[in-house]
């Protein structure tokens, strides 16, 4: 019995144990220290930008900081949200195919290819999006503007180059696809075989089995995968900067030349020529982005924790 009142046994500490626990602790603390350092930098450098006199900073053009950052925040969340709406269903589909439909050799190859997609640098996605994808989808945008302009999303006039927020979101969707797919696949594979067999034994078809056993089990995994993807989409810089034709506006039209920019892309475009207080303004927008990602991740944590009963433990 372990619950007797015997004196607590202490394992003998060997130098290797101490060294390992020490380095592990240091590694853990380092993450916190780095995060704190980044946050401190953003706050110290960003606050002068938030309180900057609009007349003295060329970036603000006489409006205050919040008017400047508003459309950027909207554009960041808008483009990431459109990307997620496109990426999540496809990612779930790919993950289900790999985990439950594909023959084993094909599944392994396909999984490898999806992971490979994550290794493509974002600059390459940007080049592809701007020079290939935008050109390819432009006629489709023109068609949408012609036939569906009564829907506010497609109000048009369609962009002549296809470099719109929808194109940027497609690129973002492709970029977050491997992350979401990989997590969903791992979670779906962990569905207890007993659950699946029970469903099949009760006469469920394969799709019904997935609906009643796999998807409910994997819901937390899907959410956390989607949130990780959202985190990447929110912060993506080069791909958006290279694809998007950006203005500082808020608009829901996703196929016209006038699109809201994103915070990260705006920093990348404006920073090279920025000086003086303009730099602080840009860093302050970075602080806002930092806060947005923090909030998104907190919400994701909250959702995942609330759904704990579905996680691998049972």
């Amino acid at each position: 019995m372990t619950s007797t009142a015997a004196p607590r046994m202490r394992a003998k500490q060997r130098p290797g144990d101490r060294l390992f626990s020490g380095t592990a602790l240091a590694a853990g603390a380092l993450i916190l220290a780095i995060l704190a350092a980044v946050a401190a930098f953003l706050v110290i450098q960003g606050v002068p930008g938030i309180t900057a006199d609009p007349e003295e900073t060329t970036l603000l053009e006489g409006t205050d900081f919040w008017t400047y950052v508003g459309p950027l925040v909207f554009g960041t969340i808008w483009s990431a949200a459109i990307a997620l709406i496109m990426a999540v269903p496809i990612a779930i589909g790919i993950a289900l195919f790999i985990s439950h439909y594909a023959p084993r050799p094909l599944a392994a190859t396909l999984g490898y290819i999806v992971d490979l997609l994550a290794a493509v640098p974002s600059v390459v996605f940007g080049l592809w999006g701007g020079n290939v994808l935008a050109v390819g989808v432009q006629p489709f945008y023109a068609w949408l503007a012609e036939n569906f302009s009564w829907i506010p999303l497609f109000a048009g006039p369609a962009s002549g180059t296809g470099r719109t927020v929808l194109t940027a979101s497609i690129v973002l969707a492709v970029m977050v696809l491997p992350i979401i797919t990989a997590i969903c696949r791992e979670v779906f594979l962990q569905t207890p075989v007993l659950h699946e067999e029970a469903a099949l034994a009760l006469g469920a078809t394969r799709w019904e089995m997935i609906k009643v056993a796999v998807l409910p089990f994997g819901r937390a995994g899907i959410v956390s995968g989607a949130m990780l993807g959202l985190g990447r989409a929110l912060g993506e810089t080069m791909a958006v900067a290279m694809v998007l034709s950006a203005s500082n506006v808020i608009t829901f039209d996703i196929i016209s030349s006038i699109n809201p920019s994103t915070i990260a892309a705006n920093i990348a475009l404006s920073f090279p020529e920025a000086y003086g207080l303009n730099v602080n303004v840009l860093i302050a927008t970075g602080l806002i982005l930092f806060a947005i990602t923090l909030i998104v991740n907190t919400i994701a944590r909250y959702i995942v924790n609330r759904r704990k009963e579905f996680s691998g433990a049972n």
Binding site: T58, E61, G130, N131, A134, V135, Q138, P157, S159, G160, T161, G162, R163, A241, M242, L244, S245, A246, S247, N248, V249, S257, I258, S261, L269, S270, P272, E273, A274, Y275, G276
Partner: protein, 364 residues
Amino acid sequence: MNFKRLGTIGAIAIAGTILLSSCAAATGSTDGEGTGSTLTGTLVGAGASSQQSAQEAWVAGFQTANENVTVEYDPIGSGGGRDTFIGGGSQFAGSDRAFKDEEIAEDNFASCVPGTGILEIPAYISPIAIIFNLDGVDSLNLDAATIAGIFNGSITNWNDAAIVSQNDGVELPDLGITAVHRADDSGTTANFTDYLSAAAPSVWTVGSIETWPTEFGGEGAPQTSGLVDAVTNGTGTIGYADASRAGDLGTVAVKVGDEYVPYSPEAAAAIVDASPFAEGRGETDFAVNLDRATDASGVYPVVLISYLIACNEYASSDSVDLVKGYLSYIISPEGQSTAADAAGSAPISSTLFDKAQAAVDAIK
């Protein structure tokens, strides 16, 4: 004991390296005298990114001729370059605009002797090409008002009467115009819109701007290469970019007086001679009031001009010879043709060269 021995070996090695490298440095300097140059030291400049490729070529050329000299040019942008120069962080600056009268009147240039003023030379003249992508059309004739109308969104189709009337015999399609502008703040945009506001003030009403007004619409694309890509890949697109980057795209011949002038280095350099120097400035201040609305023949008015800015009299004499040497090299025919090869700029005219050389020689 082992450590001790290693330490001894290390000490010998370090001492040896120092000895050898000092020998190497000594031989280096004798070699330097061999090329006939007595200049040594480091020259620091900062400023306009438009000059970047030209400055890189100048630095390479100047350092080859003077091996003991290091020139650093930091392309932080015109505004940053002027601030750095005022603060004394650089010995010369590159800027897409000259200092304003009131900035010179403040006379707080940290590197210069107070009261001696500054030297400003429009040493980098680069034509801006108006590029477009239309199947089967290589060149279009347009006047300033039409160009301004296209870029402010009031002319939206290629078969608009304003365009057709100026281009007899060119088949213009019934196709929407997509005007592409720079998404980042850019001296190219500032100079292009400066031309529009000077030559077509009734159509282009917002003056010379760096940030594109949202109400004008059009596409935004980052950097010169992004803009050229957008124009190349789009249909019915038009944009503006440094002429060296126009490639195979169609270009616009701009109406000046009664004729249409296509861009060329000579026509671009001609506008500096056709324009008066800014009045009320020092003898060595060659700030130009570009007369972009000029009627003079053979002038291409859509140009980007970037200045080299230095002191007339330096507070510390350390860098005087370096500044003189480097600026002389830049404005020399050799330096100008180096930049023309590297950046597609237009060599300055011999009239400007004579005046600028005299001013550079007078630097103390």
